[in-house]
């Protein structure tokens, strides 16, 4: 079992997570979800680390960009996380993500949204193959609106 996203408050940018192993529920701001670490110590942008915030709980989940245990919800989490980083993330992470997603410095909000979606889509496909990307057009439209509102 895993720690999986249950709900998201787009106004506060806070996720409610469920630690399925211990049935712990906790809230975490999207900025508190770090990328993983490669074996050479560099940032692994294809991994998000979610640690249970319940005191003394050791459970940590390393989610891959393909979605792993929960493809639909985890891929959305990557999209939100990526968009947060390119719009409000701290340097130098923001610059690294902008470069990773091929987003120009002068890109406007719509371009950032499109580039982030395309980038995550490509990385999902690269990891798990064609058609692993689980988000349908309606979901993408809703996320686009959400991102515009938060930009």
């Amino acid at each position: 079992m895993s720690i999986i996203p249950i709900s998201f408050d787009s106004g506060t940018q806070v996720y409610t997570m469920h630690d399925q192993d211990n049935n712990h529920m906790f809230d975490v701001h999207i900025s508190e979800l770090p990328y993983g670490t490669n074996i050479d110590g560099t940032t692994n942008f294809d991994q998000i680390v979610v640690a249970c915030k319940e005191p003394d709980c050791p459970v940590v989940s390393w989610h891959p960009v393909g979605g792993g245990a929960a493809p639909f919800d985890v891929q959305i989490m990557f999209l939100r996380h990526e968009f947060y980083e390119v719009t409000a993330g701290p340097e130098p992470i923001r610059a690294m993500v902008m470069a990773l997603d091929h987003i120009p410095d002068n890109a406007n909000t719509n371009e950032k949204i499109t580039d982030v979606i395309d980038a995550i889509h490509e990385r999902v496909t690269a990891m798990d193959g064609e058609s692993r990307f689980a988000l349908d057009d309606d979901t993408i439209k809703k996320l686009t609106v959400e991102f515009r509102n938060n930009a």
């Binding site: 895993s2 110590g41 792993g68």
Partner: protein
């Protein structure tokens, strides 16, 4: 012995009647031109009835009638010359040449006529007689498959194989009665299994029930049961249909449908109108991957009377010679009904041939190698995540491996437990899933269910299963009537094929359904639905390709566990020791026991024990279907170790 007049009436040649010892005399002289001669009084009685040859002196005459002692005659016959005869001349029947020549000529004409065929009698339809043909070859059709006459083959001599299964409605593997309730005028087509091999559908606000019946069996063929259909169609263009699918790769061979190309098909069904006014149409349809569906139907025919009648659809070339053989993937035989009333249906027979045959049952020889179960952990034997789960609302949380659950009512709950007391023991089960459903629960907005995703967006996981018909069976025990059923759902196309409901009899029953997961399906599921609060036991799910439901066949436990490892796997850290420098990064590989469907989420579930490792630096760096990498940074130069920590230190979860 026949009399002479009867002989004459049966012949086309007029022969002379004859008699022995016939002699008289002329009562008066006659001229050569007279056509009537008078005999002595009272002597003509010895002459036979006309016509006959009669001789007087050297002349042979042909008597055409005899009245009293007067003979009407044609003169100068049989090669003689008409001449005058005196009174008292002898008149008698002799062995004149004409008696023999007439017979010789008739035999000669008959010989020629038989040889040329002109002397054969005209075709006669013996409508009131039974005709027996022994040692005869009877050609019922000509070279163009045109039927010569209406023929009822002798069932003892002509043997056809019924292409249809359960055409006699003797098998009722689902439920003894299945109803599709009336919807709205625009609610569309609803489909459900009626009985073994037969599927029923209804359109819009039509209602349709198919029931097992023994009170209206077909008396003309041996039959134990029939199907009793309650039909109620509302819209003029709507009908309800009972149909059977014949799909390659299941009860017939992979390319057997190709054998129907350019072959005549004949369908016969026995129907009896029990009540009401109902008309019926027979139909044959096939599907081609290149060009879609192609069908032939009879017009709707009104049923009448309260006795069985045979409806036929004969000599139909359903699949033309121009069809590309390997594109044919499915064929359907359908009976569609319109109207309101009750119909008894029995003994449906489909043959390859130009003339419909009387019913014969088909015995299906199941393959020796059992079908592969496409439901993972169908027996609910593998519970790697635990044995007790409580699900509130529709979370899709996993319980037994590969089985997810949810309650459409956000406050509704499912308590799912690995149960070793109520399993389907007759099938050799060790565990089942006990499901306790609570909260407001119904069939629509508050439905509760367990489900398994068979096809997802990930093409490598189930992609090859698309565009196939599946049959899904499951063993269910409950004590609530009409509350539990199973389904195959193509969520992409919003098509659901349901089984009938469990009767609520408190015993295990086999529920079964058959449905198509279409070529574009990206979310194909099998489901067991709980439509009322209560306790249910589910076990032995079997999902096979084809329209034939198959009894559950377990995998070897090792194989089943390996299947489950593909999606979920818990593990313990292996002892790992070494030496290193301060700040040195060390790493350890973990290889999964089973190659994952996708890159998994790895979850650390215990406090990993370590020495000389910065606990905060313990990370996994690598999500991959075949394994991962755990790394850490030494806090001092010298020996370090990681794990083991607990029975389960991590889990890898990969859900396509």
């Amino acid at each position: 012995m026949v009399s002479a007049p009867e002989q004459q009436s049966a012949l086309t040649t007029t022969f002379s009647n004859i008699a022995n010892n016939v002699v008289s005399q002329l009562a008066a002289a006659c001229a050569a031109t007279d056509t009537s001669v008078a005999l002595l009084s009272g002597t003509a009685a010895s002459f036979p009835p006309a016509p006959f040859y009669v001789s007087c002196e050297y002349e042979v005459m042909w008597c055409t009638s005899k009245v009293g002692d007067s003979l009407s005659v044609q003169r100068g016959r049989d090669g003689t010359t008409a001449s005058a005869h005196p009174s008292g001349a002898i008149v008698q029947i002799r062995n004149n040449a004409g008696l023999f020549l007439d017979a010789y000529q008739a035999i000669h004409d008959l010989d020629n006529g038989v040889s040329s065929g002109s002397a054969l009698p005209a075709d006669i339809a013996y409508t009131d007689k039974v005709q027996s043909f022994t040692n005869k070859t009877i050609d019922l059709v000509n070279g163009n498959n045109t039927i010569i006459g209406a023929v009822t083959p002798d069932p003892a001599q002509l043997v056809y194989e019924n292409i249809l299964n359960n055409g006699g409605f003797e098998e009722w593997g689902y439920s003894p009665s299945t109803t599709i309730a009336a919807g709205t005028p625009t609610s569309g087509v609803k489909t459900v299994n009626a009985t073994t091999y037969w599927i029923m559908n209804s359109t819009n606000d039509s209602a349709f029930t198919v029931s097992r019946d023994t009170a209206n069996t077909d008396p003309s063929n041996p039959s134990g049961t029939n199907a009793l259909l309650n039909v109620n169609t509302v819209q003029a263009n709507d009908a309800v249909t009972l149909y059977q699918l014949i799909t390659k790769g299941s009860q017939i061979g992979l390319f057997d449908l190709n054998k129907l190309i350019a072959s005549p098909l004949s369908l016969a069904a026995r129907l009896k109108l029990v009540s009401g006014n109902i008309s019926v149409s027979l139909g044959l349809t096939y599907w081609d991957t290149n060009t879609g569906a192609h069908g032939l139907n009879t017009p709707f025919t009104a049923l009448s009377g309260n006795t069985y009648a045979t409806l036929k659809f004969e000599n139909q070339i359903l699949i033309s010679q121009s069809v590309i053989p390997n594109g044919i993937y499915q064929m359907q035989v359908a009976l569609s009904f319109k109207g309101t009333g009750q119909v008894a249906l029995d003994n449906v027979m489909l043959i390859i041939g130009a003339v419909a045959s009387i019913y014969r049952p088909k015995i299906l020889y199941r393959p020796i190698v059992p079908q592969m179960n496409h439901a993972v952990n169908g027996g609910f034997e593998v519970w790697q995540r635990g044995t007790t789960f409580n699900i509130t609302g529709f979370t899709g949380a996993f319980s037994a491996d590969r089985w997810q659950g949810g309650h459409s009512n956000s406050s509704g709950t499912l308590a799912i437990t690995a149960d070793t007391s109520n399993q389907d023991i007759n099938a050799g089960s060790y565990r089942c899933a006990a499901v306790v459903v609570a909260g407001t629960t119904d069939a629509v907005s508050n439905a509760a269910l367990l489900y398994q995703q068979v096809i997802s967006t990930t093409q490598t996981e189930g992609g090859e299963l698309r565009n196939r018909v599946f049959s899904f069976t499951m063993r269910v025990k409950c004590s609530i009537a009409n509350a539990c059923r199973i389904a195959i759902i193509d969520a992409t196309n919003n098509v659901t094929s349901y089984s009938s409901y469990h009767s609520g009899g408190g015993q295990y029953e086999t529920l079964a359904c058959t449905g198509l997961l279409a070529y574009n399906c990206s979310n194909g599921q099998i489901r067991v639905l709980f439509e009322a609060a209560g306790t249910y036991y589910v076990d032995n799910a079997m999902l096979v390709v084809g329209e034939v439901p198959y009894p559950y066949v377990p995998l070897h436990p090792a194989d089943e566990l390996n299947r489950c490892f593909r999606y979920y796997e818990p593990g313990a850290l292996k002892p790992w020791n070494g030496y290193g420098a301060l700040g040195q990064q060390v790493s350890m590989w973990i290889y999964w026991k089973g190659w994952k469907a996708v890159a998994p989420t790895l979850t650390k579930v215990s406090a990993w024990t370590s020495t000389n490792i910065n606990g905060g630096s313990l990370q996994i760096s690598y999500n991959h279907p075949d394994g991962t990498n755990i790394m850490g940074v030494l806090t001092a130069a010298g020996a370090f170790s990681i794990g083991p920590s607990a029975t389960v230190d991590w889990s890898a979860e990969a859900n396509p």
